[in-house]
């Protein structure tokens, strides 16, 4: 074992860096889905569409600002602005006019409705942005690279990916934790997550909390998409691949668990990059192996609380 570390320790270090950068984006999307699922108890397939539309909106806005001659740092503002606009436009509209009508329905129906919504939004993306890949690399180019020493050589990393993305994810985690535990609105959201019936009986306006949580979740998904835009070319279907991974994170983390989502995202991000480095064939299955392993030991998820079955 010691010999293995001696030979591969440096490679493992590089894999950890990649894993942390990858985990940051996974966390941003999954935490919103987890929050929405925890409060509304609706598994929202259209969450992937918020991610995709946030990404496309950030790319369009960033490219527009660049063409208008604004300085490079304005592209970072474009990311934030696109995420907020996307989340606060689509989130409340969808919750108010669609989801509110199906809260009392079977979960299968809810799943089908959000899946239909996902398909509609996917087509809307194609109408708005076409099908050719859209690229927006302003922030990555602006921030340049950092050189990490490796075996007498250097490995260049994007500053945007290894420093900015993890920093934003950490800020989001801390901010969310403080919001949920230290503010009245946050505590009300936690109360609804833990026991919706009791919370409603004590006078909490569940409708308002649902609207707020869904809009907040949509902003987080759109922010995840907007942050991914500078690193990837956007194509139709980008939302679908994201939502599958987010489901794995939610199932592994436990219902409504912010810290659980962060830890799971980290495990999956690092697991995938370690697999690419040492056993590439396993890369695709690593997230699901982690999910199965956790659920075998803790069926309620890493940080989930066992629930009493109601008969």
């Amino acid at each position: 074992m010691g010999e293995w570390f001696e030979q591969n320790g440096a490679l493992l270090g590089l894999a950890l860096l990649d894993g942390i950068a990858s985990a940051a984006l996974i966390f941003m999307v999954a935490v919103g889905l987890n929050l929405v699922f925890g409060v509304l108890r609706v598994l929202n397939v259209a969450h992937g569409s918020f991610f995709a539309i946030g990404a496309y909106a950030a790319a369009s806005l960033g490219l527009f600002l660049a063409s208008a001659g604004l300085p490079a740092w304005a592209s970072l503002l474009a990311i934030l602005l696109a995420a907020v606009l996307t989340g606060l436009t689509l989130g409340p509209l969808i919750e108010r006019f669609l989801l509110r009508r199906i809260y009392a329905e079977e979960s299968v129906l809810q799943l089908l409705v959000t899946f239909a919504l996902f398909m509609i939004l996917e087509d809307a993306q194609k109408l708005l942005w076409g099908v050719q890949p859209v690229s927006f690399s302003g922030p990555v180019s602006m921030m340049g690279t950092v050189d990490v020493p490796f075996a007498g050589d250097v490995i260049p990393y994007n500053t945007y990916q290894v420093i900015l993305l993890p920093a934003i994810a950490l800020l989001t985690l801390v901010g969310l934790a403080l919001f949920l535990r230290r503010t009245l609105t946050g505590r009300v959201i936690v109360a609804v997550t833990l026991d919706r019936e009791a919370a409603t009986a004590m006078g909490i306006d569940a409708g308002r909390i649902y609207l707020l949580t869904f809009a907040f979740g949509a902003v987080l998904a759109a922010l995840g998409g907007a942050l991914s835009a500078p690193t990837a070319s956007l194509v139709p279907g980008v939302g679908a691949s994201t939502i599958v991974l987010s489901f794995a994170v939610v199932a592994t983390a436990g219902l409504g668990q912010i810290e659980g989502a962060a830890l799971t995202a980290l495990m999956i991000g690092i697991g995938r990059s370690v697999a690419v480095t040492f056993e590439p064939e396993l890369e695709v299955v690593v997230p699901y192996l982690i999910m199965v392993a956790v659920l075998l030991v803790r069926p309620q998820g890493l940080f989930g609380v066992p629930e009493t079955r109601r008969i």
Partner: protein, 441 residues
Amino acid sequence: MHESSPLTRRGMLAAGFGSVLLPGSLSAQAPAQKPSELKIGITTFLSGPASVFGVPGRNAAEMLAEEVNREGGIGGVPVRLFFVDEGPGIDHLVGEFRRLVQNERVDVMFASISSGSCLACTPLAEELRKVTVLWDCGSQRIFEENSYKYAFRSQANSTGEVMAALLYLLKHKPDFRSIAVVNQDYAWGRDSWEIWKTGMDVLKPGVRVAAELFPRFGATDFSAEVTRLLALRPDIILNTSWGGDLDTFIRQAAERRLFERSTFVMPLAESSLERVGRLLPPGHIVGSRGDHWHQHPRPANPQALQRFVENYRSRFNAYPIYPTYHMAQAFSALRAAYAKAIAGNGGNWPSDLQLAGAFPGLEFDSPTARLRIREDGQGMEPQLIGTTVQDDRFPFPVMDRMVIFPPEMVMPPVGQKSLAWIRTLNADVVSRVPDPVRPAG
């Protein structure tokens, strides 16, 4: 006022049962009446990641159909297109294929972009006895593992596309000692690596395979793969990806200076050149899945190529990429086949069987070359491979030192399977690689 013949219930039943029970072979051979319109069913990706190829293919089809109709149609019959989305999967595609043939009564099918779709559609073409032109899919297995009477391909296959890139590398950068592969994790990514590896082991044994990476299809983050390749420093990196996957990989590799450490070979990168722009540096090898390219050095018909490129650009605000040329080839093959079949039928409109009989040995023109469909149904198309270079006339890299490979050099003869044929090659084939083509004039 329309004339109507009285239809009795018995007559309707007889007609209904007749259409259901009449053996396909009889209906395919039945003398055909010249239709009022020629219906063409086209399967292509209109959704999902592969729509980056499917939609340009559809765009080209619509543009070409308008041109054909302006010129009087095919054999004097205007064409009408019916599109089917490959995106929802094989079951949907097979159902839609049947619906177009049986309900819409299309005259010809053009299928498909995905090799999986083509593998599902070709047996259906035989069952329904409907002429089917495989317009874009690449799997060499289709005509190597089965023979078909109604299915034909109007372009090359994966073997030619991969072998041309390998021979180009062996001719122009023969001193490499190590290679890594980063292909999409699906049939094309795996098959193209198998073809390449088989050829490389025969023609340049002893090359060290530093890494075999197959990231998920549709992946948006290649950081770990790029890190691994930066650390390994292989002489050559093979990447047969396409669409958003290839664009993203090029971007992430360029931002982290991977192109400075290894030479890339990207047989499908022609379709990404305009989008990635100056990010892709000079000195890397790219291909175009055929010999078609808007800056082809010596096209067979320069005016036709220029007209096609300008029409497409003015209409869709982008240079045409390989699926658009493949669609043009399918239209050209169909026109030539109808002309041949009509001539062979004494000037009368041909039956399905007569039309199918026109395809083996058919020669037809693309803007860049004269192509041929072999007796086994496989199209013979040259392959154009070049090295990237910056040119002030374009905001993206273009190809230099372009070599046009004759199809016979990179594809097995009729009756031989690709991998078995590749194992029979020797170093002599590298010495026969043509010299780069200088632009005319």
